[in-house]
Symmetry: C2
Subunit: 333 residues, 2 copies
């Protein structure tokens, strides 16, 4: 294991301290927790909280700031955060207008966020929860019943965050996030595994000429393995599966995300975007906004995922609202 | 070689098309060239042009936009762009106030940018050039006489771009960039090599427990190889070399950049930032702004570099000016 770390068991803590030191204007760490909280909490708006296992940076805390998240709860690497930590996050950011939890669909996350929601409700805090399950690759998986939540979650943070920032009430923010979740579909693939520091060895193995299609963000199995093909062919394969699930019609407005899993160079992501863009355009879609980069990673896994989000006028407008976070900034034109 | 590419020889072209498709509001490709140009060129300001070999994404074209670059010239992977392409970039962006070229100190880049400068001057365009040589690791290297230009160059783009955006004249923009270049110092290290697609094999080899200190952004040799140590010890080692070269004094204002080389997870960069931050603070420095992420990569090399830029009031203010580019956005407070 060749990593820039100190003691493996200190990696999460040192990462959180390192983040707080990097972005003092954006976020601060809640004492005695693995919760990072937005620095200048806006009064009189719904708070948006997300979180989950670590190892997916910049997800989740990288999206704390204006127009996105108010707090992020960091579990251990590839491990759900505990209910008490989620509860602390909810308490820290509630300003009386309630809290929306954005949860990726993993059994541990769903259970723990749900318990924290109940704890907060007993304290009189209004809490709602949305579950993101954008991954079309497989139904039920190593850590999931139903479909997994992957990189599309970042666009749900953007939309829910923008809705909250506009001052909408908890019910409307939740309904808007749920509408976006119904319209978002993703699928990923891997060229190489990654190593969880405390495990010290790769989480799966692939032959030198092999890729896995449909891999999850913790290395969970996908649909199948195959000999590596060209970037265009792999992009087409992921796209076809998304298209089979949620067909794009001519005239649709969409957002497109090409997400790098950690070790894949930006050069390759742009090559994938070249093809993904053409596939959407060939169906008559209009690409309203494109995101290319590392938005939700799997430590140093090589690979990528595609996300297509169908947009109505409301979602377009929310996506275009200003956002100012360490990992994603949108400057409103 | 396991990469998301099509034909290796088409990678550069497909990457440039993929970038142009991702950011239609920011940049456009100049016909029949590997030059990307800012979409809405501002009249009546000095233009700032950079470029160099590809494989360092988001450098260079990722920094095209308000407050940074007006054009970026892409050479083949790890290869200097040709003078005629640089000349086309200069002609495309000059608005009568002249053009500043920001060049990293590699012999091929310096020679070709110089030839393009002469070609443009013969056409009556005022052109000035600054050479970035922030890498304190070695004097003279595989492709360099003197010191190499590495990730600190991105902050020179920021400062020169902000100066130009303020409407300053060519001489003042150049002098400001040169002042910043004198104040910026970087050093990198590698945990693994990378593969240039057309070569198909790693550009160097390292043992399983070995790292190289002082490696350049094309895998050029550094100062030495050693057994891997902790992140804190490696950070200290790079920092000590920078500090020996350009001592930080108590009370200094600085910008700090922790740059990932391609395959190093953000988690590890934050762990490095935790230590680098403490080292600066222990010397009495004030960290005005921190940049953690992949700013100048070496395809999929694992490793990182540290950059320390000493700031006077003018440089602080230029760094804080608004920037709106695909890869770096600064929202002015």
């Amino acid at each position: 294991m060749k990593k820039l770390i100190n003691q493996p068991e200190n990696s999460l803590n040192e990462m959180l301290i390192g983040m707080a030191k990097a972005y003092p204007d954006y976020l601060t760490r809640l004492d005695n927790t693995n919760v990072l909280v937005r620095k200048n909490l806006t009064e009189q708006k719904v708070a948006v909280v997300s979180g989950g296992g670590s190892g997916h940076e910049p997800t989740h805390a990288g999206y704390i700031g204006q127009g996105m998240l108010d707090a992020a709860v960091a579990g251990d690497i590839f491990t759900s955060p505990t209910p008490d930590q989620i509860y602390e996050a909810i308490k820290a950011v509630d300003r009386g207008k309630g809290v929306l939890l954005v949860v990726k669909n993993y059994s541990g996350d769903v259970m723990n966020f749900d318990m924290a929601k109940e704890m907060a409700e007993m304290e009189g805090i209004a809490v709602e929860q949305v579950i993101v399950n954008d991954d079309v690759a497989v139904e039920d998986s190593t850590f999931t019943t139903g479909r997994r939540g992957i990189a599309g979650t970042v666009l749900i943070h953007k939309i829910a965050g923008a809705a909250a920032e506009r001052g909408w009430d908890l019910q409307k923010v939740k309904e808007t996030a749920e509408k976006a979740i119904k319209s978002i579909h993703s699928m990923g693939m891997a060229l190489s595994p990654c190593i969880v520091p405390s495990a010290g060895k790769p989480n799966f193995t692939l032959a030198e000429d092999e890729v896995e299609i449909g891999t999850g963000i913790h290395g969970e199995p996908g649909t199948h393995r195959e000999k590596i093909k060209s970037a265009d062919e792999i992009t087409q394969e992921l796209f076809d599966k998304i298209q089979a699930d949620a067909p794009i019609q001519s005239g649709d407005d969409v957002a497109l995300m090409v997400n790098g899993m950690g070790a894949t160079p930006l050069m390759e992501l742009y090559i994938v975007n070249n093809k993904a863009h053409d596939l959407l355009v060939s169906l008559g879609a209009h690409i309203h906004r494109t995101f290319v980069g590392e938005f939700m990673t799997s430590i140093e896994m090589a690979g990528m995922s595609l996300t297509v989000l169908k947009l109505d006028d409301q979602l377009k407008s929310l996506l275009d609202d200003a956002a100012d976070t360490p990992a994603l900034k949108v400057i409103k034109k």
